[in-house]
């Protein structure tokens, strides 16, 4: 079975339906008698609602009903929650303002939800929406973080009079101060991590349904974690108890974090289905996605790095302002804290680190996890700092990194994490070779002849994935455990169904999970079905994000397969009349050690169900096992990406010439899929560095709310990628997997910006380095030279 087992480049099982147009996304779900919902959104960044007039809208053709925040409150539907408690350094809990699904008295960002119109068709709902009259008292908005903390700034939430959610810190301040006191050189840098909009190509959507006979709800939704959605909608928002609420996430068209969260729209759709006695469907248009999907990143940081005379890093000091938007989204609070600061040690042995993070409210869309979530922000800080430090002390950036690499494992950093395994030298050496680094000088000269600026930039990233050990995250404030569940159902004919709490939104679980089963049970992947995304089928699970589905989800499957194998050996023992201890299982066959007596897996499955060879007192019939896997540690994928690019100083246009990626993901199930994840991640990282940026104007209007205004990376903006791997098995899970889903997005931005600053010869440029920004930066440095 090696052809379809672990490590094989198996073509994806799910592809047939996608390439033939038979995928089933939420917008493809149509329930009999469904009505359509459209949300009236705030046109103001900050305003009080003095009154809402619905009469004219109610009289419009096709309108079934219209609801506002008062209706939700009357039904005791709770607000949206943030599931991770962060404490400020003075010990006070974070200041979480109420987050009603439909506004109550006040709107806090453009796109905030004011009312929902339910009509026979979407077009009729939109027409009726035009007739709603809302009397707003417009308030001054807070848009920039710098303004949020000024005294006398407008206040978003009464609980946070200084618009500050928390002032959080991590690390040893005194030890870090001492490190700086003895430094031979200090590198200082101001760093902006630009705000992004995740933009999965499938917009969010929801279909709520209510069964009057059972008083039970079904919600179809674009979710990366349907069980968490059910838990929150049930236990916190109060839609219905969990056994009366089924959440189905069918095929999901990308997520990148933005479909983790529990939003207003699905909450309202499922609630409204009972109110109107009809299924209620909502599908976001792209502008709504820009306005109301949780955004990503948006940090402003000042960082300082202390070095000794030889270029060894002694300490790192970081102060970050993190924009959390107008409300705390589901996991927003942990992103700029526990998913950020613990990664600031990078791949380096840094004795002392101190990080302070202020989480701030502004009148902008909520900000939460986006591919990498905190780790790209951390990597951007440390990898820019290291590159600039190397330049300042006149050392080769690759060798400067090598001098400071962690070499002993396990390695305890000063910021929580204990790196379990890795070989950073190996990845760097391989990347230098693949990128032909030794000839960069000649290539730069060649570009210069053509009047172009060539630059090379490194990014030696590390991330913490396989999220996460439940007790550990619990001690840091998480409201949930982060294990994963699996159930293995062997049918009497030997085919297998795997029920998993992970949920693919493009990662190819139907293939990779089947490969694990194929490897372990010696059966064809065609005989394995993966069941996911439905809370009525899979009992409980935590979903897919944080590169966890391999390391955590598959570990749960592996554990359940251990139990299947143990039980099947007992069955085989009865059939072959031998002790289970003497039964060997290999290549799909059970045999009695030292004899030629054997039976294949499918026959054992049949025997388990017909139960003729044993009785129920000796052994329970059937072959079905389940397991929960709680990781023992985070996993630590790491690698080196090298970006080489050319800039035309006359236009500021950047062309990426080559991209080298060497990643250590531990053991790999399907290299084809892993490489695809790397490609996609790099594209998003390059997008952040060169093209993308969510821009609010001074009044709080999102001026980048369509693909005409927000520059998505297109094929012509990107290179092909040269992807290589090194491998150190991960000791923290049974499969040795580290995870690969976020690496590219984490690694890429500093690689690009280090290359750009190398090319232009100074550090005065922020992301996105658009042609205009670059042209200006080049002019600033050498106005005459560029003009000549």
């Amino acid at each position: 079975m090696s052809g379809t087992g672990i490590g094989a480049r198996v073509l994806r099982k799910e592809d047939f339906r996608f390439i033939t147009g038979k995928g089933q996304y939420t917008d493809d779900v149509n329930r009999y008698g469904q009505a359509h919902a459209v949300f009236l959104r705030s046109p103001h960044a900050h305003a009080e609602i003095l009154g809402i007039k619905l009469d004219a809208a109610r009289a419009m053709p096709g309108v079934i009903d219209i609801f506002t925040g008062d209706d939700l409150a009357a039904d005791k539907i709770g607000g949206l929650i943030c599931g991770w408690m962060i404490h400020s350094k003075d010990g006070t809990p974070m200041k979480a303002g109420a987050h009603p699904a439909l506004a109550q008295g006040k709107v806090r960002y453009v796109g905030d939800h004011v009312a929902v119109i339910i009509a026979e068709t979407q077009a009729q709902a939109r027409d009726a929406m035009e007739k709603i009259v809302v009397d707003y008292k417009v308030l001054a908005p807070v848009v920039a973080m710098a303004d949020a903390v000024k005294s006398g700034a407008p206040v978003l939430h009464d609980v946070a009079p200084d618009n500050t959610v928390y002032n959080w810190a991590l690390g040893d301040e005194a030890a870090t101060q001492a490190a700086f006191a003895k430094a031979a050189h200090v590198t200082k840098l101001d760093i902006v991590n630009n705000r992004l909009v995740p933009n999965p190509m499938e917009p969010r959507a929801a279909v709520g349904d209510w069964d009057s006979g059972q008083d039970a709800f079904t919600l179809y939704t674009t979710s990366q974690n349907p069980h968490v959605a059910r838990l929150v909608l049930s236990a916190f928002i109060g839609i219905a108890p969990e056994h009366k609420l089924r959440v189905i996430a069918p095929d999901v068209g990308g997520g990148f974090g933005s479909k983790i969260f529990i939003y207003a729209e699905e909450t309202v759709c499922v609630w409204a289905a009972k109110k109107v006695g009809r299924p209620v469907k909502w599908v976001a248009d792209r502008t709504e996605a820009f306005l109301s999907d949780a955004h990503g990143r948006d940090h402003v940081t000042h960082a300082e790095m202390a070095l000794d005379a030889s270029g060894k890093i002694l300490g790192l000091r970081v102060k970050t302002q993190a924009n959390l938007g107008a409300y705390l989204s589901t996991f927003s609070s942990c992103v700029p804290t526990y998913l950020y600061a613990p990664l600031l040690s990078g791949q380096y042995d840094i004795p002392a680190i101190y990080v302070e993070v202020d989480g701030l409210y502004t009148n902008t869309a909520p900000v939460d996890a986006y591919r990498g979530a905190g780790r790209p922000e951390a990597t951007f800080v440390i990898e820019r700092m290291v590159e600039v430090a190397a330049r300042e002390v006149k050392q080769d950036p690759a060798e400067f990194r090598r001098r400071n690499f962690v070499r002993q494992f396990p390695h305890q950093t000063p910021v929580i994490m204990c790196y379990d395994a890795g070989d950073y030298d190996a990845a760097l050496t391989k990347a230098l070779e693949m990128s032909d680094y030794k000839n960069i000088g000649a290539r730069k000269a060649e570009s210069a002849k053509k009047g172009l600026l060539r630059g090379i930039g490194f990014s030696a990233y590390i991330e913490a994935c396989g999220i996460a050990p439940s007790a550990a995250v619990g001690s840091l404030g998480a409201g949930v455990g982060l294990w994963e569940s699996a159930e293995v159902r062997v049918n009497p004919v030997g085919t297998v169904e795997i029920l998993t709490g992970s949920h693919s939104h493009g990662q190819g679980h139907e293939t990779t999970f089947a490969q694990l089963v194929s490897e372990r049970l010696g059966i064809s992947i065609d005989n394995v079905a993966i069941v996911h995304g439905d809370t009525d089928k899979v009992q409980m699970g935590m979903g897919t994000y944080g590169s966890r589905s391999g390391a955590v989800g598959m570990s749960a499957i592996s554990k359940a397969l251990d139990k299947i194998e143990a039980k099947a050996k007992k069955v085989a023992g009865f059939v072959l009349e031998a002790s289970p201890d003497d039964i060997e299982f290999k290549d799909g066959k059970f045999s009695v050690r030292g004899t030629d007596k054997e039976i294949d897996f499918a026959s054992v499955a049949l025997q388990a169900y017909i139960a003729h060879k044993f009785n129920g007192q000796e052994l329970e019939p059937g072959l079905k096992e389940s397991a929960f896997w709680d990781p023992t540690n985070f996993t630590f994928p790491a690698g080196v990406h090298i970006c080489e690019l050319e800039i035309d100083p006359a236009t500021g246009v950047t062309r990426i010439d080559r991209w080298t990626a060497v990643d250590d993901f531990g053991n790999v199930i399907n290299p084809m899929i892993v490489e695809g994840q790397v490609h996609g991640g790099i594209a998003q990282g390059v997008g952040q560095a060169l093209l993308e940026g969510a821009v609010y104007d001074a009044s709080g209007q999102l001026v980048t709310a369509s693909y005409m205004d927000y520059s998505m990376p297109r094929a012509g903006d990107l290179p092909s990628y040269d992807v290589g791997m090194t491998q150190t098995a991960c000791p923290s899970n049974p499969l040795g997997i580290k995870g690969c889903g976020e690496a590219g997005a984490i690694a890429a931005p500093p690689a690009v910006m280090n290359a750009i600053t190398d090319a232009i010869g100074h550090e005065g440029i922020d992301m996105p380095a658009t042609p205009l920004a670059l042209w200006r930066a080049i002019q600033k440095a050498a106005p005459r030279a560029a003009a000549e």
């Binding site: 390439i19 147009g21 038979k22 599908v283 790099i682």
Partner: protein, 162 residues
């Protein structure tokens, strides 16, 4: 209301629709051909690409009444039963899709690209020609590869001229 008659994937259909009905709505809602997707509202992403009288067009920006009488091919009409079109096969073979949401539009655009540019497509041409199709998952690397080999396969199979 307006009456619209189209030939969709080889079948003639007539429907009375609201005059503002877009072609993509006609396909998705009236014909339940949900393989054609909607990813934006500004004609930028290409998720909705179908063939109208043999040419790739974005069905999100066409009124159904405006193409009355046209022959439409959607992603559902590309394979002959279980026999995949060479371009579909190439996307699978070269891992040119992840979440699959952009994929129908990508494939329909790619087939049209071959019709216009021939079966020998270099990377630069493919990347330029994909200007109207956005994919957020793949980073395009494998899409470019898939289209290159798909075009080649279309040449060999003689489907390029269709």
């Amino acid at each position: 209301m307006a009456s619209v008659t189209l030939s969709v994937n080889g079948k003639s259909v007539t429907r009375d629709v609201d005059a503002r009905t877009l072609l993509v709505e006609f396909l998705r809602e009236h014909m339940r051909l949900t393989g054609t997707h909607v990813g934006c509202d500004t004609t930028q992403c290409g998720c909705c690409t179908v063939h109208v009288n043999g040419e790739a067009m974005k069905s999100c920006t066409l009124l159904a009444v405006a193409v009355d009488g046209a022959t439409i091919t959607t992603i559902e009409g590309l394979a002959k039963g279980q026999d995949l079109h060479p371009m579909q096969a190439a996307f699978r073979e070269h891992h040119g899709l992840q979440c699959g949401f952009c994929t129908p539009g990508m494939i329909m655009s790619a087939v049209d690209m071959v019709r216009r540019k021939g079966t020998d497509l270099d990377d630069k041409t493919i990347r330029e020609e994909l200007e109207g199709n956005i994919c957020r998952c793949t980073g395009y690397h494998n899409i470019v590869k898939a289209i290159h080999y798909g075009a080649e396969a279309m040449g060999k199979a003689g489907t390029a001229a269709e």
